[in-house]
């Protein structure tokens, strides 16, 4: 239906960028280097348009149809569910969303939690859903960065944050009390692109899927 048959894919800046470029290259979809993309933000290469955007913006580009496909961490999808299709687990960028409390704290399992758990997080929606599923009341403080600091200065009892190795947590005197979920990079697709430009979009999806399966 679209006038052009070029497939566009939104990929995130930050921690997932190098993994995203690697999987695109391994799938034979496009070879790009981070420097080139960082300068131009938008590169057309062998029938594919690659758009570099902030991680949390990937679903917006895909849901609106500005990009047919997107590569994004599952943590972002938990926080901002949309109308896209989640197609492939790309199996890189693995990390966990955890509830962490100060080392010195007596807090552990739910039975030790205060009646109203004060939590700082960049993931208020996901954290709220999780606490609700636990049947526990939580007061969520939305922060935009340096979440690890919040318990040390007495702002909150604990934090809900993403961790890959746990190092940042231990460096800040925090330990993991519970795991909310495991996140990896996902391939998402616009609902209309899959239907109106099936062949072109499916071909990119299949190549990425194969590249991931071959690497297992």
């Amino acid at each position: 239906m679209k006038t052009h048959q070029r497939v566009s894919i939104a990929i995130p800046t930050g921690a997932l960028l190098s993994g995203a470029l690697k999987v695109l290259a391994r799938a034979g979809v496009a070879r790009l280097n981070a420097g080139e993309l960082g300068r131009q933000l938008l590169v057309d290469r062998s029938g594919l348009r690659v758009i570099l955007v902030r991680p949390a913006d990937v679903p917006a580009y895909v849901d609106h149809g500005a990009a047919d496909l997107g590569i994004v961490g599952k943590d972002i999808l938990w926080e901002t569910p949309g109308s896209h299709y989640e197609l492939v687990d790309l199996r890189f960028g693995g990390c966990r969303l955890v509830l962490a409390v100060p080392d010195a704290s007596r807090l552990d399992g739910p039975e030790t939690w205060p009646p109203l758990f004060r939590v700082a997080t960049k993931y208020p929606h996901t954290a709220a859903m999780w606490f609700e599923a636990q049947g526990h009341a939580a007061e969520l403080v939305r922060l935009h960065g340096s979440v690890e600091l919040a318990p040390q200065v007495g702002l909150v009892d604990g934090i809900v944050d993403l961790t890959a190795t746990g190092r940042t947590l231990s460096e800040n005197g925090l330990r993991i009390a519970a795991v909310l979920g495991e996140s990896t990079a996902r391939l998402i697709a616009n609902q209309a692109s899959l239907k109106t430009r099936t062949d072109a979009v499916q071909s990119v999806v299949s190549r990425l899927r194969e590249a991931v399966n071959d690497a297992r």
Binding site: M1, H64, G65, P81, Y85, E86, N190, T196
Partner: protein, 415 residues
Amino acid sequence: MPGFRDLLPAEAEVLREAQESLLAEMRRWGYRHVITPLVEGMDVLQLGLGGEQRRRLFKFADGRGEVVALVGERTVPVARLVAGKLRAAPLPLRLCYSGPVLSTDAGRFQQRRETYQVGAELIGAPGPVADAEVIALAARCLEAAGIRRYQVDVGHAEFFHGIMDAVKLPAEVKAAVRAALAARDFVALEALLERTPLRSAEHELLLRFPALRGGPEILEAAGGLVRNRRSELALAELGQVRELLVTHGLGGVVNLDLGALRDFDYYTGVIFEGYGPELGRPVAQGGRYDGLLARFGRPAPATGFMVQLDLVAEMLTHASRPPALPRLDAAIAWSGDGLGTALRLGATLRLFGMRAVVDTESRGSGEARAWWHAVGAVNLIHCRGESTVSWTPRGSRMRRLPPEQVAGRLAAGLS
């Protein structure tokens, strides 16, 4: 207020025109127009809507303490009408409607809580002929509204129900499979099915059915995979509907989509979605809902669809050649004792179907030209007396002529 907005003439007139075209097409197919209220009692809406839809309603208590809500869709009110005030009307009934619908949920990106829907319902007719009629009507409606390139994806809710019946999975895994599909999360779906030890044809089908899209050949491909009666009947029906749509002259725009994921608790048969160019969402959607009317006490098969009017308008205004807004034909200024002539000339032009504005105050020729430009009309006609008027078409020189000659030339399209 977030999610609510004003539509200015550039949008509002396109939207209104599209609405008229859609309703006119529905009337050409014999659908009668009904208007249901913006407010419905919760007792009515509760009968027809799922939990998630109910949650998104704007609810409040009216003066008598009854809980009422602003409608979030308009099929349920039509069902209430058919089972209530229209219960003596013989079936099948063909009804159409138009109006705003409201949602407390602004949506993450769209930020719209008030949208406009135009819809049609065919109530009391079972089977593929009725299914095909409604799909064909939806397609012709999109054309009538001015959307030249579009496609319609047709699927069947029973195909999925048949697979879910036949697949051997614990109840809680089945529930998780439904939840994953509702969230369009195929990663979760694969993970769920990978963990189950029992493998069957239906397992494979659950993983593959979302990709079963295309022409009539996919019916055969799917037929080779299914081993249950319910899905087989769905495929047979889908094949009939497709053939009927070819006869309707729509073979070129119809795709079969066995992976269409919709509200499966509501839809009971053939379902479809219409897509336009360059828009990330379906612009029309509908299907068969044979269970709804029974909840209102008048069991009847039913099928229908609605068009998202604001998406249609958006598509039209963003097209490479947006529809020309109806222009204002004449700005009629006057001075001295020219008011009578101006009013009569305005009436004459409108009789010929032209758009004419008569000034509310007397102006000299310089001021009249400024007013003409502000109004944005094609012609300026300045009336100073009864016998002659000064007529200036845009981009031409001014001429003095008797008013009836100006009217005659404008009506004939001359300048």
